[in-house]
């Protein structure tokens, strides 16, 4: 309720977190990895040379994995461990599960201390339980005697009948993912029970559950990440020649509801924005929707703020006063100072001094003033609460300003997405028909809409950024608002053109002469807007560092650094603007 602890001065996060977007040491990986077995140390040196080549490339730093891809990778990892260690695939899978699916960790541990690993994981190389010569064996769970062909055991040899095995497996599988670490039921035995036994003994339902746990474990327990090596063919190299390329990869599920895809992400890829095949775009780091160029900290603060009650409280604080009798908050939106609380309270009081109305009248100044309030105010009695109310009001107004713009860009983007879809599915074909232009020649329209959708997204997040940009950083604020204003007005022109001006051609029955002009205009606006937004994104991603020198001098009391001097470093727009017209597009 106290507006003083409102957090709009907490912009320090913005300066700290720029290294999320550090693109200098980018190591990109694309496509699927063809792993190679020889990861000798010499290859690392090799890699460093290669990295240089990749820095400037615009490549995807992630791969979307469908269910079969996940399975394929898992199988590949199992095969790798199984061949290198000369153990069965079932055992390899158990080992990998134990070591969070890191092939290299399995290898390291195994070659350092095979016996130790076998013991802790429960991979026995020979049975510990010796069968007697008796014809019959007693099941260790139901204690019934069975002939040998009716009992089964894990590598340890402890005999249990099939019914008991089934009961045991079904109980554990239905108990959760712990079943992936299944051991022999004998309490003194640590022998692992692998998928082969599950497949033999579990019901179809349970088998499916087990497989799902296994797949989930592969994606989720892999969190720590692992070093993958990719063989890269480069077009400028002979076809039998390729680079071995190392990247640090991690896997996460796509957070979209109902989406079963996972994303394999290569660290250091410059941006965290990821686009799943289900068309959901999200930030790899925080799994919120994509929010480049704004950092994750700002986004999470903003989202929390939007859903928090705090703003409601601020509103109540700013616009209402509690009834002096029943204490319910009362909003006064118009009228005189004579208030009557709603039933059952019905208390009549003065809005200004909150005293009973029975003490008021002509002598206290009438309905629109209150002498008691004025004199008390002069004595300083109301200062504290009034000041608080004033602060809350200001902070609320500021928040509302940014929130409205954030939200309207959000809905504008949704609308643009729908329009884009409409264009692709309905209008484009018709347009191609009436304007006698092949659809391939109409790509500029789709490109324009794609640009609009992307820009709306960026613009939306710049409002969250703006909200948290500290008030006292005048130079930065001014620079930011300038860039944002430019980008926004460019986008408005583009959006207007794509939305309204296109309409007339959709209504045409025959080819229109102006269509070519329209093409030039829309394509031009698309590219100009793209430029504006690239500038904006770049500037925000380096924390508006270009104005730092100006910020220093503005501290000395000069609060107006000339904006015209800031557009240096090749932005190409250094002139022709006045500091007053920043908000052109709003």
């Amino acid at each position: 309720m106290d507006s003083e602890d409102d957090d709009f001065y907490s912009g320090e996060a913005m300066d700290d977190e720029n290294d999320y977007y550090n693109t200098d040491d980018a190591a990109y990986a694309d496509g699927y990895d063809d792993e190679d077995e020889d990861d000798d140390d010499d290859d690392y040196e090799f890699m460093e040379e290669v990295d240089e080549e990749y820095v400037s490339r615009q490549q995807q730093s992630y791969t979307v994995l469908k269910e079969e891809d996940i399975q394929q990778r898992q199988e590949d990892d199992i095969t790798r461990v199984s061949t290198v260690l000369s153990i069965s695939r079932v055992d390899a899978s158990i080992l990998l599960r134990q070591y969070n699916w890191s092939v290299s960790r399995v290898h390291d541990a195994w070659f350092a201390d095979e016996d130790g690993v076998r013991k802790s994981v429960g991979l026995l190389d020979k049975p510990v339980f010796q069968f007697s010569n008796a014809k019959e064996l007693t099941c260790g769970i139901c204690f019934e005697p069975y002939t040998r062909d009716k009992v089964m055991s894990a590598a340890c040899g402890h005999p249990f009948c099939c019914t008991c095995w089934k009961g045991y497996i079904s109980a554990t599988v239905n108990d959760g993912p712990g079943c992936l670490m299944l051991r022999c039921p004998d309490p003194s035995c640590r022998a692992a029970v692998g998928q082969d036994m599950i497949n033999m003994l579990a019901s179809d339902d349970d088998k499916e559950k087990y497989t799902r746990y296994l797949r989930r474990s592969y994606v989720e327990d892999n969190r720590k990440g692992c070093l993958r090596y990719h063989l890269k063919h480069e077009p400028y190299l002979p076809s039998d020649c390729c680079y071995i390329h190392f990247v640090y990869c991690q896997t996460k599920w796509c957070p979209a509801p109902g989406c079963d895809y996972a994303i394999d992400f290569a660290a250091g890829g410059g941006t965290f924005d990821v686009s799943c095949l289900c068309s959901h775009s999200f930030c790899w780091n925080c799994t919120e929707e994509a929010h480049r160029p704004v950092d994750c900290g700002t986004v999470s603060k903003w989202i929390l703020k939007n859903c928090a009650e705090s703003e409601n409280m601020n509103w109540i604080l700013a616009n209402s006063k509690p009834c002096p009798k029943c204490k319910r908050p009362i909003e006064k939106n118009q009228g005189c100072m004579h208030m009557t609380c709603s039933p059952p309270c019905k208390f009549e009081f003065c809005w200004l001094c909150l005293g009973a109305w029975s003490d008021h009248g002509e002598r206290t100044g009438g309905f629109y003033a209150c002498n008691r309030y004025e004199s008390a105010k002069q004595q300083g009695d109301y200062d504290e609460t009034e000041r608080r109310r004033e602060m809350a009001k200001n902070s609320l107004e500021k928040y509302t300003h940014y929130y409205e713009r954030w939200a309207s860009n959000q809905s504008s983007r949704q609308k643009a997405l729908a329009d884009l879809h409409q264009m692709q599915t309905v209008h484009l074909e018709k347009l191609s028909d009436t304007q006698c232009t092949p659809e391939s020649q109409l790509k500029f329209i789709i490109e324009a809409w794609l640009q609009i959708v992307e820009c709306r997204r960026v613009l939306k997040w710049t409002y969250a950024y703006g909200y948290y940009l500290p008030e006292h950083e005048h130079a930065k604020r001014q620079f930011f608002e300038y860039l944002q204003g430019e980008a926004e007005s460019g986008l408005e022109r583009l959006h207007q053109c794509a939305e309204k001006e296109l309409q007339q051609f959709l209504n045409d029955d025959s080819p229109s002469k102006e269509f070519n002009d329209f093409r030039t205009k829309l394509a031009g606006l698309t590219s100009v807007t793209k430029n504006y937004f690239e500038n904006l994104v770049r500037a925000l991603e380096n924390g508006l560092a270009d104005v730092d020198s100006h910020a220093a001098c503005s501290k000395a009391g000069i609060s107006k650094p000339p904006p015209a001097s800031k557009g240096k470093s090749g932005r190409g727009k250094g002139s022709g603007r006045s500091s007053g017209s920043h908000d052109a597009g709003r």
Partner: protein, 161 residues
């Protein structure tokens, strides 16, 4: 009696019945030292008398264990508690609940009443001090209304006692 007439007390399955009958026969032939099964006609609830082992803090003391078997015993663990008065022990609460991993997470269907009894006796015998667990009052308060110890999320941290 803290008779936790477990909320979902279903009759024993056929497998559970067979297994318990075998356990009972085995118990009669070869009872674990220090324990006495009080004969009743209820196969689903055993009352077992425990005699503190000689030379330990609980020598010459007698307590009663109540063992309730679930429908799918032995795939599910039995519920084992001390009937009042429960022995004073750092892992035994005043309501009779016992903090012992094999009764919960580490239960295995290859364990038996007899092996559980032996574990409990060994837990008693290795105690060096007669006292309640530190959080006894809070825990017992939370367990009113006859909540089963199997609903508790136990955290086994002490493997010495």
């Amino acid at each position: 009696m803290t008779s936790s007439s477990a909320p979902s007390r279903k009759a024993l399955s056929k497998i559970a019945c067979n297994r318990l009958q075998k356990e009972l026969v085995e118990w009669q032939v070869n009872p674990p030292a220090g324990f006495k099964h009080k004969v009743t006609d209820n196969l689903q609830r055993w009352i077992i008398e425990v005699n503190g082992a000689p030379g330990t803090l609980y020598a010459n003391e007698t307590y009663q264990l109540q063992v309730d078997f679930p429908e799918h015993y032995p795939m599910e663990a039995p519920q084992v508690i001390f009937l009042p008065p429960a022995p004073l022990h750092p892992h035994i609460y005043s309501n009779g609940h016992i903090c012992l991993d094999i009764l919960y997470d580490s239960w295995s269907p290859a364990m038996t009443v007899s092996s559980v009894c032996i574990s409990i006796l060994s837990m008693l015998s290795s105690s060096t001090v007669k006292q309640r667990p530190a959080d006894n009052d809070r825990y017992v308060k939370n367990c009113r209304n006859g909540r089963s110890p199997k609903e508790t999320r136990w955290w086994f941290h002490d493997d010495k006692v």
